[in-house]
Point group: C2
Chain length 380, copies 2
């Protein structure tokens, strides 16, 4: 089996840095730019794997190492033959490193040079994540794309903390690569490590981190530590800076981003991969992203609106069911409402990146983006 | 469009009273014996209409008049063109009369000759259900099969109360038929009224009620007031008595029953139609009905059991996902667990009645039933 490759198919048209490409993994191809639905514990919430393929057209999903390590645990995943076998998803899987959840969910965490001590948010049990152990865990999960173990500093962070944190992340990155080189692919297909750029909101740190990361010559690179509370314009500025300072011939992954317009702005700045819980989480709260704008489906105004959930989306569910029915399901607290809203939002996100890709290839991404953003932001 | 018809295809073989038949409605055929999934407010909980067809093979579903009347309400359903249009279910729909929910869910109910006054369990608003109004509501919902408005006395009820209640149900039945005759099918297809036998656990009352009901010469007849807490043997005894005293050339519907073995025993006594919330409700609690027995999927013993959810069921979901994965979904409180368990249980119930039908037609239902019941009851 072979390491991940990236083929750049179009870039730099109409003054945009947007790129269209094709990633190849041992579990199949991914056309970029791509959005990756988040499957926290091995399930994209409220959606079956069949629906992910048929209705959403997901090409790759995420798993969260922290969650999977706690439940079902590495033993069960190894016994199953990896996460693909365990959850029945046979397309590519990317796992994060668990760092983000350790800092946001776990209790009593302590960062040391060796790694991070923490207590499980579920039962209080104590665990130590080191870069080496996190590589081993992701090997056992069986991800096609493995993320480096990093520290994600909060926004704002002072310069001194941001610099120390970045240096730690870099030392951990070396250990990640060393551990990966020492260990074998677990299930016969190639597992690929993506390093993560940090450096908070300091240009010199971000540049230094990009340089450090680029020298690893990894098959893909990620930008972390953005979309953590900073102003949108600042996120765009640092996305652009990082994209410019990361290899052009490798996919660039902007972690944890974001709204539909965040994604279009990211694509415009040379980002190829995105993930975010927003479509599923907001969907479960009745907030729909549609091709025509934002919909609060609980609103009384939809009670007798028998138009499709989203007339502009090609997927069956969004055409088959009406806004009135979906509103009714939310008002009556029916589980089916969570399913349909999650499918709508994820279908929309995949439609968005696929349509963006079409416009990149056609050479008119910039003008399309300018037209789309006000539509996507409007409240219906 | 045409009134519901029933074609008896096999009965009385191998000493059993089990029957195989075919019901025709304006929304399609129903092969009997049949189990009808309950779609309380127009959604079979946690299941899409696509899954109901493809994975479960449901031929007819139920709606609850009480719930649909309160939410989304008759105005919305009429504006949609009926429940079929509203929820996108284009096969037959049966609605109950709301009587059962008025007695079990609503507050401050008062029974009078005219009807029942009650307060909504949602917002405390006051409503009056009369036999006439309940016919109008079911017309507006657009059910293919409309149930008579009845009083369902609790178990045990004393003779005097049971008799008074039955007499009231009979007077209400006359009013239901009169109102239905006075009003037109709402959406162009025929809406068929099924009367309901009551009489609690008194043989003479049950016989009298069957006689009263049979004289209506309805296209189908229902047995109510069983499976309300009485011993299982008593339920079987009264099921048999009622089945014997209802027309043989019309479908017989045993309301609110039951476990898989209850259903086989009901079929054996000449019942053609069943409904129950058990497969969906138990499924959401992690209790699975399978072709091999009962499974508490939360049990630790399934943690590394990578066999299909139910190897004996033909549906895709129960073959595709494993017990270990489904257990993990329940332990991690994932919504997908509720979906897969609901699909498993409903698929199983439909498989059960379809397989029973095959054995009735083949003439070996009785011996098959004897073999199956101990299997279905065993805890795995």
């Amino acid at each position: 089996m072979a390491a991940l490759t990236f083929e750049l198919q179009a870039s730099g048209l109409q003054g945009s840095k947007a790129r269209a490409g094709k990633i190849r993994t041992d579990h199949g191809e991914i056309l970029t730019p791509i959005f990756m639905p988040v499957g926290t514990v091995g399930s994209v919430k409220a959606v079956t794997q069949q629906q992910l393929k048929q209705d959403i057209n997901a090409q790759i999903i995420l798993g969260n190492t922290y969650h999977l390590y706690l439940r079902p645990g590495i033993e069960v995943l190894e016994a199953a033959g990896g996460l693909h076998r365990f959850n029945g998803w046979d397309r590519p899987i990317l796992t994060d490193s668990g760092g983000y959840q350790v800092f946001s969910l776990a209790a009593n965490r302590k960062i040391k040079e060796e790694g991070v001590m923490f207590q499980s948010h579920i039962d209080g049990s104590r665990h130590l994540f080191t870069p080496e152990y996190v590589m081993d865990i992701q090997r056992a999960i069986g991800a096609d794309i493995i993320m480096a173990f990093d520290e994600c500093p909060p926004y704002p962070s002072d310069y001194s903390y941001a610099r120390k944190s970045m240096d730690l992340t870099h030392r951990w990155l070396n250990r990640c690569f060393e551990q990966l080189a020492r260990t074998e692919d677990k299930y016969g297909y190639t597992q690929n490590l993506f390093p993560i750029v940090q450096g908070s909101t300091y240009k010199d740190l971000r540049k230094a981190s990009c340089e450090f990361v680029a020298e690893k010559n990894a098959v893909g690179n990620a930008i972390g530590g953005l979309s953590v509370g900073e102003p949108e314009e600042m996120m765009y500025e640092f996305t652009e800076l990082c994209a410019e300072n990361l290899p052009a011939d490798k996919p660039r992954y902007l972690m944890g981003v974001g709204t539909p317009w965040n994604i279009l702005e990211g694509i415009d700045r040379g980002i190829d991969m995105f993930d975010c819980v927003m479509p599923t989480r907001n969907g479960r709260n009745g907030m729909l992203f549609t091709t025509q704008g934002l919909v609060n489906i609980r609103n009384k105004k939809w009670a007798a609106d028998f138009s499709p959930i989203d007339p502009g989306l090609p997927n069956e569910m969004s055409q088959y069911y009406t806004k009135a029915y979906l509103r009714h399901l939310f008002v009556a607290d029916e589980i089916l409402g969570l399913q349909l809203a999650s499918i709508q939002n994820l279908s929309f996100y995949l439609w968005l990146v696929t349509t963006a890709r079409g416009h990149i290839l056609a050479g008119d991404f910039s003008s399309w983006k300018q037209e789309m953003i006000p539509i996507l932001k409007q409240r219906l």
